[in-house]
Symmetry: C2
Subunit: 263 residues, 2 copies
DNA sequence: TCTCTGCGGTTTATTATTATCAACATCGGT
DNA sequence: ACCGATGTTGATAATAATAAACCGCAGAGA
């Protein structure tokens, strides 16, 4: 938990789209790590290209090394690009914003977005970390994950992102059971007000969830017909996606998919 | 060099396109770090999503976290995408493979490739790390870098990649002086047999090199006319690229560009 | 089938490294 | 000259690396 490397790596998570450059003192304050230590860690990470210091300012930002690593991974295991294609298809067909996420360690990382071209649409940023308990994507991933993974996720403090967020682990576990039966998860303004999300899992070669694809729409626009259409499209795209990345859905999910009738 | 974090991060560099999955013992052997230590480091990095263990096999590979970090950086500072556009333009105009690289720590990382559609062409992998002394991109970056950076780069052991590779720091420094005058660098089979490269620097907002764009072609195909055409196109694209990423070429480079006459 | 070998993973006590804390030097902007 | 920021240094306390074992497992070969 408090290993040196873990502390250093956790510094990377403070960089986001809304705050792409951060100074030493700021990082030290947020991470709770000593300033001198943070400085040394930053120096090491700069040396390895994970971070870089703008010679101009005295701020740090993510370095070109992360671009390189991402390229290496994407060349060897093209997941992001395959996701993007499915997301574009989804957003075009549903007319709402679609996004994809992958399990990264114990978190869920958004790695692809395709916004609808409507004037009113849900807008979200790629690279964001999604909470497991308050998003449809998180729930659908948990539903098909191993118990240890679920325990660890629900063991952490569950933040109430909105007034509708469920933070009781027991209720969440009950919902996970439902998700296992339907194959998809819905999040009615549990992560963000006015946003209704529907998500479906994507699997790895070993049958464990690799991530999720989801459609997010303004809550007031949700109808039964739109839900059916979305879920149907998600099943289709999830199927293609699993094929594209070599994922093998477990029997439980395949059963749920077979149970779904797009009537 | 011997910091814990540095050792952990250096493990990431063993993953490449040609070897995207590596086991624990293999990593321990190559890095020279103890197996138990490597195991702990890998566990931490898996926990943070930089790596992931395929539940199936017992191998490690780069995780989804690197995709997320790359997206965050690319959203805040779109460099890779801007590069790609220039590279596509270059390869289309010259008819040879173009590639772009960025300084990542003390190394030069390939972050974009656009192969020509010729049957015979130079093929190279994105995500590769380029040597500074034996590639045109490396030389052009060094030529406009600060002396400390050059000293550090030339202080490391210089590998002779081919029979033509120059490994004498003094000769290299002399060549850097020439590059400063011309604004571009040429590598005639100094990094790879039969490959002739021409590179041009791209700059950061503070006037230091951010990376380079380069054209690589089969050495036997090189002619004076092709060289002129390539250099001319590189100057044009470098100019656009600097504008696109907000780079400010130093006076020395602007003078070299003005000196060039595409006659 | 049985053994052998190499691998991933874990443990132990010891050794070496590193974080920490506080203090100070330094730079830039107001 | 002020202030908050980045760096940097010192001694002490906490942490992690090391080395050499060990287990369980899988595949190879006899």
């Amino acid at each position: 938990m408090s290993s040196t490397v873990a502390k250093a790596l956790s510094l990377l998570n403070y960089f986001s789209e809304s705050e792409p450059e951060i100074g030493l003192s700021e990082l030290a304050r947020r991470s709770g790590v000593d300033k001198a230590t943070v400085h040394r860690m930053l120096a090491v990470m700069c040396d390895h290209g994970l971070l870089e210091k703008r010679g101009d300012a005295r701020l740090y930002r993510l370095g070109a090394g992360v671009l390189r690593l991402a390229r290496v991974r994407e060349t060897a295991f093209p997941v992001s690009s395959v996701f993007q294609h499915s997301l574009d298809t989804l957003s075009a067909e549903i007319g709402e914003t679609a996004h994809g996420s992958l399990i990264a360690g114990r978190a869920l990382a958004t790695i692809g977005v395709s916004e609808s071209n409507r004037g009113s649409r849900v807008s979200l940023v790629a690279g964001e970390i999604l909470p497991m308990h308050s998003t449809a994507s998180g729930m659908v991933v948990l539903a098909f994950s191993r118990p240890e993974f679920v325990d660890r996720a629900l063991g952490e403090p569950l933040v109430a992102k909105t007034s509708r967020t469920v933070t009781d682990p027991n209720i969440i576990r009950a919902r996970l059971q439902e998700v296992r039966l339907t194959g998809y998860a819905e999040a009615d303004q549990t992560n963000e007000d006015d946003v209704y999300g529907i998500a479906m899992p994507v699997f790895d070669t070993d049958g464990t969830p690799a991530g999720a694809i989801a459609v997010a729409m303004p809550a007031h626009r949700m109808t039964n017909e739109l839900r059916r259409h979305t879920i149907s499209a998600l099943f289709a795209e999830a199927d293609k996606l699993n094929f594209g990345i070599g994922g093998r859905p477990p029997a439980e999910f395949r059963a749920a998919a077979a149970r779904f009738s797009p009537t």
